[in-house]
């Protein structure tokens, strides 16, 4: 450490000093990041617990049951096998699956066709009118779902308003109650708001000037819709479709009240397995397949939508 000035060694010492200081800072950053993620976990904890206890655990129980053998009581667990899944191939089960899928798809398409123009109309109104109309869209939720379905039963029933009207105009008696048409009618009625709200949100979020630009560039109104509006509101279409398709596929209340004995759907069939037929393993297998179909359909839809986004 004489008069030679700073040597290479000296500079290294300094560098180490600096590094040592930085090491302290680094550790502080690591600690801060850890604290941040702990805090995040804490915020999510109620939701995590809820999902684990009330969703994941029952799901596992259902899965376990689906591999069991049917016993006298229907609830005992023994004799692991795939019998319940083989039963899915039987014609009666295939028919019910197919019918449920068809009705769910039809319901979704009808909801989409009705909701899209309405959502566009809604999204392009002045804000005050928009809010009032949104409340109107949600008013049906204020009445019990069961009551609303029974209301349809009255409307469509033998001496109901519908028959009165059709007879008055000379169409004679129209028998809709206890048909698939009545079920679709009830499902569309029940789930339409679930289509409107995400569509409205998507359209409202879109920059209206893009439509002006497309018109300015020579597109007709329809071309503007197809080339600009629809692709840009695809997230809303997807969200709305899933929100309608999934509950329609597993619907129980509406088909029970408005559908006839001939139009048994998946939801009712599962309930029969658990409560009447006392075949819990088969009911569990049906539930599992229903979930699988929903999952696959949702994934495909997301994929397909993702490309056009």
């Amino acid at each position: 450490m004489a008069e030679s000035g700073p040597t290479v060694l000296d500079r290294d010492d300094n560098a180490q000093d600096v590094r040592a200081k930085h090491a302290v800072d680094d550790q502080f950053e690591v600690r801060a990041a850890k604290a941040e993620s702990r805090r995040g976990l804490l915020l999510a904890l109620p939701a995590w617990l809820y999902l684990m206890v009330l969703f994941v655990a029952p799901l596992l129980i259902v899965t376990v049951y689906s591999f069991a053998t049917r016993t006298r009581s229907g609830t005992d667990l023994s004799g692991w096998n795939l019998d319940s899944y083989r039963k899915l191939g039987e014609p009666i089960v295939r028919d019910i699956l197919f019918r449920s899928l068809t009705l769910a798809v039809i319901t979704t398409v009808i909801c989409l066709v009705i909701a899209y123009p309405f959502s566009y109309y809604l999204a392009t109104r002045p804000e005050r009118i928009r809010n009032v109309m949104l409340v109107f869209v949600m008013i049906p939720f204020w009445t019990n779902f069961l009551v609303r379905n029974f209301a349809w039963r009255v409307i469509l029933g033998n001496d109901g308003p519908l028959t009165t009207v059709t007879e008055a105009v000379g169409l004679g008696e129209v028998e809709l109650l206890f048909t698939p048409v009545a079920v679709v009618l009830g499902l569309v009625y029940g789930f339409l708001p679930f289509m409107i709200l995400p569509l409205y949100a998507a359209i409202e979020r879109m920059d209206g000037r893009l439509l002006e630009a497309s018109r300015d560039l020579g597109a007709t109104g329809f071309e503007s819709f197809r080339q600009v509006l629809l692709p840009l509101t695809m997230p809303g279409v997807i969200a709305g479709s899933i929100l309608v398709f999934v509950p329609s596929l597993g619907a129980y209340v509406t088909p029970e009240i408005l559908g006839g004995a001939k139009t048994t759907l998946l939801g009712s069939y599962i309930v029969i397995q658990f409560l009447t037929a006392r075949n819990w393993p088969f009911g569990a297998a049906l539930s599992f397949v229903l979930m699988a179909i929903m999952l696959v359909a949702t994934l495909i839809y997301f994929r397909k939508g993702g490309k056009t986004l």
Binding site: L217, T220, V228
Partner: protein, 359 residues
């Protein structure tokens, strides 16, 4: 109307064009002709109706009243996709789900031009705005200036008869804006297409436009060349809005003299009758400061320096006269006499350096 009337025909011709939103007259009884091949600016403060006027030419708004012709054809209520005009929108309105190439090719696709031809022409337009290599990108992967160029290419690829630009450079920073001003101007010269652009920036209008229409409250205040508007503003509003000016109150004594508020007479030409209340517009850079004892050429008023601001290339003085304060801007030339705050000065100007304006 036939095509052989050629360039005699106004590109855009408006008669009594009025647009009312509820009780508000956004545009109030405008008569305006924009010549073929002209670079035309609609200039005014926000809410003056300039954008509404542009949107009526585009067909995005329909006039409440009046006649609007594009090259002789009445288009008042014609849908935007049926007009020979294209628009460069404020903030560009590029389609976020399409690539640059798809954005630029959109108009041609709508005209049912073949795919191969669309691609060729779109690529040409992309080259014209110097974005080659960017054609596969999405708008959100481009800078503001690049987006601006895409918007320009997307409009020009359709070979519109009139190109409309709504605050085209408003979202760019100063340096880029100045570059684009030059580029837009040379592009317009090359293409020979009539450009109509809307701006609230008077410098932008001055530097690009062949002619400027100054609007206020839905009314045209003056339509003239940049020089004319700057040198001979039609009224007080135009004088104040274009550039920076000092407005000295006074009244007309006779055709060549105006008496200012403090009683001093200055020589200035005016057609207004004697006794008319007027204001004399004196641009800060047209006035010169002299020592109070000197006898400068031309007219002068006396005052005292209140403050000095050094700008590097110039000094800006705030000078207190007897009855008001005015700004004087002196270019920083060698040998310039600099006055300190408090100094008594004589503000001199040539008689033809001022103009008389009224409300």
């Amino acid at each position: 109307m036939t095509d052989d009337m050629g360039s005699d025909l106004a590109a855009v011709s408006m008669r009594s064009i009025t647009k009312r939103f509820g009780d508000v007259f956004a545009v109030d009884d405008i008569d305006l002709d924009i010549a073929d091949g002209e670079f035309f600016a609609l200039l005014g403060p926000s809410g003056c109706g300039k954008t509404t006027t542009l949107r009526m030419i585009a067909g995005l708004e329909f006039p409440t009243l009046g006649s609007l012709k594009i090259y002789g054809n009445e288009v008042g209520t014609l849908a935007p996709n049926k007009r020979p005009v294209n628009t460069v929108f404020q903030n560009y309105a590029l389609f976020p789900h399409m690539t640059v190439l798809e954005n630029v090719g959109f108009g041609l696709k709508m005209q049912k031009v073949s795919k191969a031809e669309t691609k060729t022409q779109a690529m040409e337009a992309i080259e014209m705005v110097q974005l080659q290599g960017m054609e596969k990108r999405r708008p959100n992967q481009l800078s503001g200036g690049q987006q601006q160029r895409v918007a320009l290419a997307r409009a020009l690829v359709n070979r519109p008869q009139v190109l409309l630009l709504d605050e085209p450079l408003g979202a760019l920073d100063l340096k880029l804006r100045q570059e684009m001003q030059t580029e837009l101007k040379s592009l317009q010269r090359e293409l020979g297409i009539t450009f109509v652009f809307v701006t609230h920036d008077q410098e932008e209008a001055m530097s690009m436009a062949d002619r400027i229409a100054v609007m206020k409250d839905g009314v045209l205040n003056q339509v003239a060349s940049p020089e004319e508007i700057y040198e001979r503003p039609a009224n007080r509003f135009v004088a104040d809005f274009i550039g920076h000016t000092n407005l000295l109150e006074g009244h007309v004594v006779d055709r060549s003299v105006v008496r200012l508020g403090n009683g001093s007479d200055i020589p200035v030409e005016t057609d207004l009758p004697a006794g008319a209340k007027v204001e004399v517009s004196l641009r800060p850079e047209r006035a010169f400061l002299h020592a109070a004892s000197s006898t400068p050429d031309g007219a002068w008023v006396d005052g005292a320096v209140k403050s000095v601001t050094y700008l590097g290339n110039a000094y800006v003085y705030q000078v207190a006269l007897d009855w008001m304060e005015i700004d004087v801007r002196e270019e920083n030339r060698p040998g310039l006499e600099v006055f300190a705050p408090g100094a008594s000065v004589r503000v001199a100007f040539a008689p033809d350096a001022v103009s008389v304006v009224t409300e």
